[in-house]
Symmetry: C2
Subunit: 268 residues, 2 copies
C-alpha cells in the first residue's frame, strides 16, 4: 500500500531509492495486529525529526496497517517513509511530499529452537562507520549491514556481530546485542552507530522493573568474550541467546532465559 | 527506462529502495550523446565488483542510453543499478537479478558565471563517516550528502565542503575538491570516504599531461585555507573555482582557469 492506495510500485525519482533518504520500521504482527505499534510509531517520528522529514500521519498509518493485518495470524509488517519524489540533487525539496509504504511480508522461517538453545554467530569484518548524525535511527542507508550479512553463507551461523571503527562490538547485522556480567546487563551505546531497537528498549525497561542494573555503554571485545551470558534481539526474533561467537562459547544462562520468556510474553 | 522497458516505476521490494543496495552514475549529455561514457561505465563496473553485484550488460546500457539521448542537446543522464527485488532481510539473494534504471533529467540551471567568476561555498557541519569498504564508489547510501546539503538555503552559496571525522576536507556535497599550492595540485584521497569522481580523475590525468604534480593525499583544513587556488568539480558542473569558503577568500587563479578550459573542451 503506497500513500493509501493499493500498489507495489514507486516512482524511480523517489528519494528513498536515489539516496536512501527515508526510514523504515519492521513490526511483528500477531493475531491480526501489529505488536508494540506505539513504540514503532514513536521511533519513526523521532527518525523523521532527525532527518527533517514531516512525520507521517499516524491515523493513516494505523488504519493502513490495520487493514493489512486483518485475519493475519503471524507476519512482518514493514513501513517505509521517504522524502518522496524530488528532482535530481541532494538538496531536500522545500515542500517534500513524503512517500508512505506499508507492506506485509511472510514471517521468516528461523528455527524455533533458536530462542531455546541459542545460536552460533560470527564477528563480522565489516565495521560500522562513526556517524552520530544518523546513529540510533532506522534509516534506509543499510549497505554496511548488507555487506556484513554477505560475509557468510553457513546456515548454522544465524547472526554476525558488528564492531565500530574502534573494534568495539555494537550490534548484530539485524539485531541489538546484550551481555550479562556478574548479574549486570550491558548493551552497547548506539549514539555513534547502530540502531536503537524497540526490543532493546523493552529489555532495558524490563530489567528496570526487575531491579536489575542495565548499562548502555561502550562494550569492549574482551567484555563480550568474558561475558557470563550474551544474546541478540529484535522485534521479529525476540531474543536469541548467543551460544557461540566464532571460537568463543557461552552458556544459555538464567538471566537470558528469563528475558526470553518476558520479551515473548509481554503484551503490546 | 527500467530493465529495457519504458517505465518510471519500480517494485517497492527493490533492495535499492529498502537498503540503498546499489550504485548510480550521473552523466552529462551533449549533442545527443553521453560524455565520457566508458569512464562512467568502468566506475559502475568497479562499484558492482565492490558490492558483489553482477556488472550490468554494457551493450544494453549503451543502447538504452543512446535511445534516450537521440536529439538531446543538453541533459543529465542518470543510471541506477540495484541488487534488484529481494525478500526482506539484509542478506543478498544468491541469484540477484539487478534492476537497471536509465533516465534523462533536465540540465540544472546553475548560473553560467560559476565557472568564470567562481562560487561561494561553506564548510558543512555534517561529517563524512570513515568507511573504507564503501569509499570511492558511487553507491546509493547518500544520507550524509543529503544532510549536508540541507544545512543551508542561501542561494548565493553554491556548494558545501565536507570534512571527515578527523576534520580534514574531503569533497563537496556533490563534487570533488582540489587546491593549488605553489604550483602543485592536491586533491583529498578518497579511500576512507568520498567518491572517486570522473572529472577528478580527468583533472589528475590532464595535470599529468601538463607535467604538473598532482597529489592525492590527506588535506588539512589549514592547507585548504592557505591555498593559492581552490576549486570543486563534477561531471555536470565541470569546474567551479572557489572564490570563498565562509570567511576565507581565494582568487580565481591561472591554473584553475587553465583547467576550467581543458575540462570543458576535452572530447569524451
Amino acid at each position: 500500500m503506497i500513500n493509501g492506495s493499493a500498489s507495489d510500485r514507486i516512482d524511480v525519482a523517489d528519494r528513498g531509492l536515489n539516496y536512501g533518504d527515508g526510514l523504515f520500521e519492521t513490526i511483528a504482527v500477531r493475531g491480526g495486529a501489529p505488536r508494540f505499534w506505539q513504540r514503532h510509531l514513536q521511533r519513526l517520528a523521532q527518525g523523521c525529526e532527525r532527518l527533517g522529514l514531516p512525520a507521517p500521519d499516524s491515523q493513516y498509518l494505523a488504519s493502513e496497517a490495520a487493514a493489512l493485518c486483518v485475519g493475519v495470524e503471524r507476519a512482518v509488517l514493514k513501513i517505509i517513509i521517504t522524502r518522496g519524489v524530488g528532482g535530481r540533487g541532494y538538496r531536500p525539496p522545500t515542500a517534500a511530499q513524503a512517500t508512505r509504504i506499508v507492506a506485509l511480508h511472510p514471517w521468516p522461517d528461523h528455527p524455533s529452537s533458536n530462542a531455546d538453545t541459542g545460536i552460533s554467530a560470527r564477528l563480522c569484518e565489516t565495521r560500522l562507520g562513526h556517524q552520530p548524525l544518523l546513529a540510533g535511527i532506522k534509516h534506509l542507508n543499510r549497505l554496511e549491514q548488507v555487506m556484513a550479512r554477505a560475509e557468510w553463507n553457513d546456515v548454522d551461523v544465524a547472526e554476525g556481530v558488528m564492531l565500530n571503527n574502534a573494534g568495539e562490538p555494537v550490534c548484530g547485522t539485524m539485531s541489538n546485542l546484550f551481555v550479562v556480567r556478574g548479574g549486570v546487563l550491558m548493551t552497547p551505546d548506539v549514539s555513534d552507530c547502530g540502531i536503537a531497537g524497540i526490543t532493546r528498549q523493552r529489555i532495558i525497561e524490563i530489567a528496570g522493573e526487575w531491579g536489575m542494573r542495565c548499562d548502555q555503554t561502550r562494550l569492549t571485545l574482551d567484555q563480550l568474550r568474558q561475558a557470563d551470558e550474551s544474546f541478540v534481539c529484535n522485534s521479529i526474533i525476540g531474543i536469541w541467546p548467543l551460544r557461540r561467537i566464532d571460537a568463543w562459547t557461552f552458556p544459555v544462562g538464567p538471566i537470558t532465559r528469563r528475558l526470553v520468556g518476558a520479551v515473548a510474553e509481554q503484551a503490546g
